[in-house]
Symmetry: C2
Subunit: 70 residues, 2 copies
């Protein structure tokens, strides 16, 4: 399954890399795409992810998880 989150604070490719690295390390995550221009973070995983785990990973990268697109 794939979920798209909104993240604030990403301004460049380095920011995308930092977020991608942290979120990709979460158990069960199979693909991660972060886009600084749109502020969107798309995460594919085998099982449904805990939003709070994603929030923590984004926070550790130095950014803020704002929400989840519906």
């Amino acid at each position: 399954m794939t979920v798209t989150y909104t993240v604030s604070g990403m301004s460049c490719g380095h920011c995308e890399s930092a977020v991608t690295k942290e979120v990709s390390a979460l158990p069960g995550v199979t693909d991660t795409r972060a886009d600084a221009q749109t502020g969107l973070l798309t995460v594919a995983s085998e099982q449904p992810l805990d939003d709070e785990a994603v929030r923590t990973a984004v926070d550790e990268a130095g950014y803020e998880l704002v929400g989840r697109t519906v």
Copy 2:
């Protein structure tokens, strides 16, 4: 001596780090400060630096040396 350059494209702390890392590696450089907000890059060195060497280092980091402040 200390020279201040203007650099375009730096948008965040990661960008500052990338520029600082490349410029700091130039021979004779003793201190480097990059500020994404102002676009200023201040370089201290033992001997006068070749502007083209600084330009190359900034370019390798992925940014553009625009000029040198006077």
